[in-house]
Amino acid sequence: MSNLLNLTVPQIVTGIKNMDFSAEEYVSQVLAKIRKVDLEINAYITLNERALEAAASIDKRIRMGENVGSLAGVSVGIKDNICTKGLKTTCASKMLEDYVPPYDATVVERLKNNDAILIGKLNLDEFAMGSTTEYSVFGPTHNPWNIEYVAGGSSGGSAASVAALECAVSLGSDTGGSIRCPASFCSVVGLKPTYGRVSRFGLVSYANSLEQIGPIGKNVSDVVMVMNAIAGSDEKDHTTGPLGAEPKYSLKSGQNLRVGLIKKVTEEADPDVSKCIYDAMELFANSGCKCEEISLASSLQYALSSYYTIAMAEASSNLSRYDNVRYGFDMSPDGYEWNTYFMKVRSNFGEEVKRRIIVGSYVLSSAYYGKYYLKAQKVRSMLIEEFKLLFKKFDVLVSPTMPILPFKIGEKISDPLKIYQIDVNTVVANLTGMPAISVPAGFSNGLPIGLQLMADILQEQKLFDAAALFEEKLHPPAGSLK
C-alpha cells in the first residue's frame, strides 16, 4: 500500500469513494503514524478507539452504493477544548482530567455528518491560555520540524498533528492567535474565521467575545473543505446568526487583489521573518496584485494590552464554574465547608490559568472596571473603525503571523510577558472579529515562517483567494520530517 498520509483532503475523499483504497486502510496508516511519532510530538491527549470502526462503516456504505459526505473517511483531530460526546474533553487541565461530555459540539456534529473520522483529541495550553502549548497538564507539544522547539499555541496539538501527518486536518480554537500561531510555527495553514461564522456551541469558553473555532490543514484547499462543512449559523449559538446566506467557499486563485502590508509590525519583526514577508509582498506584486505599504495611525499599539485585559476578564468569569461540584476530578468534599472546598479544588488550576483568573478578577472589580476593562473596549471599538476603513481600500492586509521564529521549549516560560508579546500581530483579528489566515511563507534555519492575511468581516473567500494565489506562486519546499 502506498503512503496515503500526504494526500490532500479532496484526494482522500476521491480515493475512498472510488475504492482506490479503503477508509479503513487509510485510517490504519494514520493510527500507525501516530503510534510511531506521537511519543515525541505529544500532539494527542486521547485517541478515539472507535476510529477504525467508523472508517469500516463508511467503506461498507460505499460498497452498498450509498451516498457519503463531503469529508468521507478524512481523518480529523479535534482540539481538546471542543466537546466530543463520549470522548474525554480535558482542556489539558487537572480540573477536567476525567470529564466526558454528554454532547457533541456543533462543529463535531457537522464533521461527523460529513463522514469525517474523528481520530482523537489534541493537546493545548490549559484552557487554551498560552502561545506555546507548554502549559498543558499532559506536557508540551513538540514542533515536528525540530522537536526541541515549541509548536506554538494554544492549538499546538492541532498544528503539530497536521504537520506530522498524524491527521489530515484538525480543528483548533483561536482567541488571540491560537490557531495562526502554531500554524505559523509548524508550517501549516490555519484559519481564524469571522466571529460568529462558526458555531462555538461545545467550545469550552476561555474568552467568549474573542474566540472562534477554525480549521488547520496542510494547504488552503483542505481548509476550505473543512470550512464548508463546519461554517454557518447554528440555533445553539445565537452569536452565529443571522449572517446572510450560508457560506459556500471555493478554491480559486485571486486576481488583481488589493494587498496592503502593515509596515510597522513587519519592520519590527525578526529580520529573517521580516525579509520573508517582504519577499511575499513582491510575489503578490509580481502576480498582478496592487500592493501598498501602510502605516496605521493607530490604536494598534494598544491592541495587545486591550486584548489581554478583555481576555483575562472573560476568563475569570468563564472559569468560575470549575468548582468540582457537578463534574471534575476525584476529590471528596467530605469534611470541608463549601467555601474551603472551592478554594482547595481551584488551587488545581495551572499557574498561567491562575494568573489570568487573578488579573481578570482585578480588572473587573468595580473600582477598576472603568480604568481597565472599559478602556480596553474603547480601543477595541477604535480598532474596528480603523480596520473597516482600511478594508474599503484593500482586499487583504498582510503581516507576519508571528514576529519571531519558533523558540526552544522552556526558553521563555519563566517570563509570561515575553510570551504575551508574541501575539502582537494576531490579536487584532480577534478584537475586530475579522477573519485571518496564516499560510506557510518559508523557513529560516529550518524553522517555519508564516504569513498572515486578514480580511473584512465575512470575507473569508478573499482570504482563500489570496492564500491560494500565494500558495500556488510560492511552492513552498516540501520540508522533510523526521
Binding site: 471542543i82 466537546c83 474533553t89 482542556c91 477536567l96 470529564y99 461530555p101 454528554p102 454532547y103 459540539a105 462555538r200 456551541f201 461545545g202 467550545l203 469550552v204 469558553s205 467568549n208 467575545s209 440555533e235 445553539k236 449559538d237 445565537h238 452569536t239 476578564a313 472573560e314 475569570s316 468569569s317 468560575s320 464554574r321 468548582d323 461540584v325 457537578r326 463534574y327 463549601w338 467555601n339 472551592f342 478578577s361 473587573l364 472589580s365 468595580s366 472596571y369 476593562y373 472599559l374
Partner: protein
C-alpha cells in the same frame, strides 16, 4: 428627630407563564419533579454550553415594564453577576445591570395607588438559581447539603422600587398590586410556591440602609419591616450606630437577625455577556406588545365601576386580587345582580379568607364556586331565604362546596314569613317560658331572649323581623 422612614422593595416574579426556562428549553415548571430531573447541559452549566435567550421572556418583561409605566430602551443586554455559590451552576448569574450604562428592560417607572406614587427604579430579567436543601431544620446541624438544579435558569423578573414607602402596610398593599398586575398579564401565577418573593431595604433618618431577606410572605414582610423600625428607632434612641447590613427574618422568633454572610461587601465583578447578542427593541415590536397587552387591574376597575356601578372601594378590593375579580365576573354570568354579588364577595366571602400574602390562593381551603354566590344572592333577592340564613349557608358551603339551594332544602331553612306559623311558635314559647315572659313585660331588653327561643324552635327559619313584631304584640295582649 423626625424619624423619617424609607422603605424600598425588590420583588422577584417567576415567569411561570413561559413554557421553558430563560436560556434553554427545559420546562419552566420545575415543581413536583424528582431532584435534578429538569436540567440540561445549559442550565446545569456544563462546559461549552451557551445561553439561548427566550424571546417570550423578553416580551413578558416588556409587558411588565409597560404596565409599570417604565421607559424601555432602544436596546438591552445582559451581564454576568459573578459570585461563588453552590446553587449557581456557572458560579455567575445572568442578569441585567445599569451601572455601566442602562441595560434593564424597564426603568424609571411608577405605580400610583390612592394618593401615593411609588417610583419603579428598574425592571430586569434574570435567571433563578437552583435550590439548596437542608434535611435538618437547623442549617448548622447538617453534615451535608443537597442541591436540586431543577429551578436553575427559570426566568425571573426583578422589580426594584425607589425607597418611597414610609409604612410597612403600604409595602404590603403595593405587593398585592404588583401580584395582581402580573396575574392579569398572565406572566406569573403568584399562587405557586415561591413564584413571587420579596426583599426589602429600610433606613431611618437618612441612616444606613438595612437589607431584609428571607421573608416568606407579604404578611411576614410587613411584620419584619415593623420589627426593623422598632429595632432601629430604639437603637438610635440609645445612640447606637445602625450598621448597613443584611438581616434575615427569623420566621419562628419574629425577629431580624444579622446574616453571617458578608453579602454587602461582595464585589460582583459585573461583566457584559457576549454570548447573548444585544436585543434591539424595534418600535413596531413595542407597539405590537402594547396592542396585545391583556386588561390591566386599573382598567378593569374602571370597567367595573362604569359597567356594574360598583363603588370605587368595592371595585378596588376586587381587582387587587385577580382571582377575586375573576370570581366576581364568573358569578355575574350566572346571576346579573352585580352590586349584590360584589357585596357578598367583599363583605362576606372575604371574611372567610386568609390573605397571608404568601402566594397561596385565597380559595385554597374553600370549596365555594362562583355560581354558589350567584344563587345565594338570587335567593336573598327573591326573599326565599333571609340574609342571615344566607350567611349561615355561606359558612357551610365554603367548606363543603354544596349547592346552596340543596343546603336550604335539606335544612328546610327556607325563610318562614307566615305569621300563623310564627305565632304558633310564639304561643308555645309563652307557655313554657312564663318567668321570661314576666321579665320581658318589665324589661323590654329581655324580649330578645324570647325571640331567641322562637328562632330556636323554628330552626332559625322564622323571619326575625316578623317574629319580633309578633312577640311585642303578644306581650301587649297579655298585659
Amino acid at each position: 428627630m423626625s424619624n423619617a422612614i424609607k422603605i424600598g422593595l425588590e420583588i422577584h416574579c417567576q415567569l411561570t407563564g413561559l413554557q421553558s426556562k430563560l436560556f434553554c428549553s427545559c420546562s419552566a415548571d420545575y415543581r413536583g419533579k424528582l431532584p435534578n430531573e429538569n436540567i440540561c447541559p445549559i442550565c446545569y452549566g456544563l462546559p461549552g454550553t451557551l445561553p439561548l435567550l427566550n424571546q417570550k421572556a423578553v416580551e413578558f418583561a416588556g409587558m411588565i415594564s409597560i404596565a409599570l409605566d417604565c421607559l424601555i430602551p432602544a436596546q438591552t443586554m445582559f451581564y454576568r453577576k459573578n459570585y461563588f455559590y453552590l446553587d449557581l451552576p456557572k458560579n455567575f448569574q445572568l442578569t441585567q445591570y445599569d451601572t455601566y450604562g442602562k441595560s434593564s428592560i424597564g426603568s424609571g417607572g411608577k405605580l400610583y395607588y390612592g394618593s401615593k406614587t411609588i417610583r419603579i427604579r428598574r425592571v430586569q430579567l434574570e435567571e433563578d438559581p437552583g435550590r439548596l436543601i437542608y434535611e435538618e431544620g437547623n442549617t448548622q446541624a447538617n453534615l451535608y447539603t443537597l442541591i436540586d438544579y431543577n429551578r436553575s435558569g427559570v426566568a425571573l423578573v426583578e422589580i426594584v422600587t425607589e425607597p418611597d414607602f414610609e409604612d410597612p402596610k403600604d409595602a404590603r398593599t403595593f405587593l398585592n398590586k404588583i401580584g395582581s398586575i402580573v396575574e392579569h398579564l398572565g406572566v406569573c401565577d403568584t399562587k405557586l410556591e415561591g413564584a413571587i418573593r420579596c426583599d426589602a431595604n429600610i433606613s431611618i433618618d437618612e441612616g444606613k440602609r438595612v437589607e431584609i431577606k428571607n421573608v416568606g410572605s407579604f404578611r411576614e414582610l410587613e411584620r419584619a419591616l415593623s420589627y426593623e423600625i422598632t429595632r432601629q428607632k430604639s437603637m438610635s434612641l440609645r445612640s447606637i450606630e445602625i450598621k448597613g447590613e443584611t438581616r434575615h427574618w427569623d420566621d419562628s422568633r419574629k425577629v431580624t437577625k444579622k446574616s453571617r454572610t458578608k453579602e454587602e461587601e461582595q464585589d460582583y465583578r459585573y461583566l457584559p455577556e457576549a454570548d447573548i447578542p444585544t436585543v434591539i427593541f424595534e418600535r413596531e415590536f413595542l407597539l405590537s406588545l402594547k396592542a396585545k397587552m391583556p386588561e390591566l387591574p386599573y382598567d378593569r376597575k374602571t370597567r367595573f365601576i362604569s359597567s356594574y356601578q360598583l363603588s370605587e372601594q368595592v371595585a378596588q378590593v376586587l381587582i387587587d386580587k385577580k382571582e377575586l375579580a375573576d370570581f366576581f365576573e364568573s358569578a355575574i354570568k350566572v346571576y346579573s345582580s352585580a352590586k349584590e354579588i360584589a357585596n357578598w364577595i367583599v363583605n362576606d366571602l372575604m371574611w372567610h379568607m386568609d390573605d397571608a400574602g404568601d402566594g397561596r390562593s385565597l380559595f385554597a381551603n374553600l370549596k365555594i364556586e362562583p355560581n354558589h354566590i350567584a344563587k345565594l344572592a338570587k335567593m336573598v333577592d327573591q326573599n326565599i331565604i333571609s340574609r342571615n340564613t344566607a350567611k349561615t349557608i355561606l359558612s357551610q358551603i365554603i367548606r363543603t362546596g354544596e349547592d346552596p339551594s340543596n343546603v336550604a332544602e335539606k335544612n328546610k331553612v327556607s325563610k318562614i314569613d307566615d305569621k300563623i306559623v310564627i305565632s304558633t311558635a310564639i304561643e308555645r314559647v309563652f307557655d313554657s317560658e312564663k318567668t321570661a315572659v314576666d321579665d320581658a313585660k318589665m324589661n323590654p331588653n329581655a324580649t330578645n331572649y324570647l325571640l331567641g327561643k322562637v328562632m330556636q324552635l323554628t330552626g332559625g327559619r322564622a323571619d326575625p323581623g316578623i317574629a319580633s313584631q309578633l312577640i311585642k304584640k303578644r306581650l301587649n295582649q297579655s298585659e
